[in-house]
């Protein structure tokens, strides 16, 4: 006698970890960290809030999963097979810019990246950079330090830029905000803040992306000088 097969068919709109993560990313993009609640998520997925816990352990895991989802779409660990990158420095700049732009588009990622240690997203960043550090000819015992340093720099800028991106959305709003900050800097005590006061004049005009790249280039120059 034939055994009755288990009910393999599912509702086309069945809940899944992937659908939950995708919906969570949409909520985070639309309204920031505060907009991601299990109730809002359940409403958007037309289910009960408890159902989400069948696919995801808790909110921390959900946030880690959304972060990994965004980063995985940026750091491509499967480059053109065999052929090594022609220019490791250009490859590192590309990874950095990809992460910068991704975190600018999804500011909540900037904070999430430093919540869980050795998170999957962080490992992907280190892998992507580490290969290029390898290609740069850095001696083996220094490779870990160099890759971590570049990764930390990128995540540091990302976190700071995310704070800015959360605060202002339009380019006009950005200019107005930076001018307000610069005006505040210009009023600081000259004895205590000589450098910041001087920098206040050029700060509103600076381009975050250019500044990020400038710092990355300094770093790469240091790697070239020391190894």
């Amino acid at each position: 006698m034939a055994t009755t097969p288990p009910r393999a068919e599912r509702r086309t709109d069945a809940l899944s970890r992937d659908r939950i993560v995708a919906a969570a990313v949409e909520l985070l993009d639309a309204g920031g960290e505060a907009a991601l609640t299990f109730r809002a998520l359940a409403t958007r997925l037309a289910t009960g809030s408890g159902a989400i816990y069948w696919h995801v352990a808790n909110k921390d895991e959900l946030l880690a999963a959304t972060t990994d989802h965004v980063i995985a779409g940026v750091v491509d660990l499967r480059p053109a097979a065999g052929a090594p990158a022609p220019d490791p420095r250009a490859a590192i700049r590309a990874i950095g810019l990809g992460l910068f732009d991704a975190i600018d588009a999804h500011p909540w990622v900037g904070t999430q990246l430093t919540r869980e240690p050795w998170q999957r997203a962080m490992v992907q960043v280190i892998e992507g950079i580490g290969r290029q550090v390898w290609a740069l000819g850095v001696p083996e015992r220094a490779q870990f330090d160099v890759a971590m340093a570049i990764g930390s720099y990128i995540l540091g800028v990302a976190g700071q830029n995310a704070a800015n991106a959360r605060r202002v959305t339009s380019p006009a709003g950005r200019t107005a905000y930076l001018e307000m900050v610069a005006a505040r800097w210009a009023e600081l005590d000259p004895a205590e803040y000589p450098f910041v006061r001087q920098v206040a004049a050029v700060m509103p005009a600076h381009d975050d992306r250019e500044q990020f790249l400038a710092g990355l280039d300094i770093f790469l120059a240091g790697v070239a000088a020391r190894h």
Copy 2:
């Protein structure tokens, strides 16, 4: 014999912003971000939760104030009057190590630093570093970029290290945790994670502080090479 006060639980001091911030730092140090609630704070200060709002606008402002309080104790903006630092590189290392140690001791600071853009704490870091960048002889138009880059690196390491420090408290626990992470790395797909797999062997033995300094030195070498 003196009579005891009628209400023993009543606090003797008046509430103040400073006392609130100090108590908040204690709660954060003892139990992390989750331990800081207005109810817990009110209990510790022997007052009602609403009283805190007379001195502090909301929780975001309170968190910014606690972060500023810790950072202000680390970055000294009033060095020996007149005499410039004999070695700007050593001064930058000292600032970096001071921040590294402070954030290791108060891990919650690591995340808070990237929540508010151009926060007072961030401005203090930029000022402390910027003066030394000045002393290094970096041309004026590059000074802002260089100071921001070093600051971003320091805050990036801080955030990552804070995540680690939150996770493990004892040195033994740290070793066990790193070995667990390294074992997970060693099991990654060799085609997708060749670098991380190779690095897994040396990762558990690395010293976070040394690695931080190594990265900072690469950065300083880059500044020397380019300016």
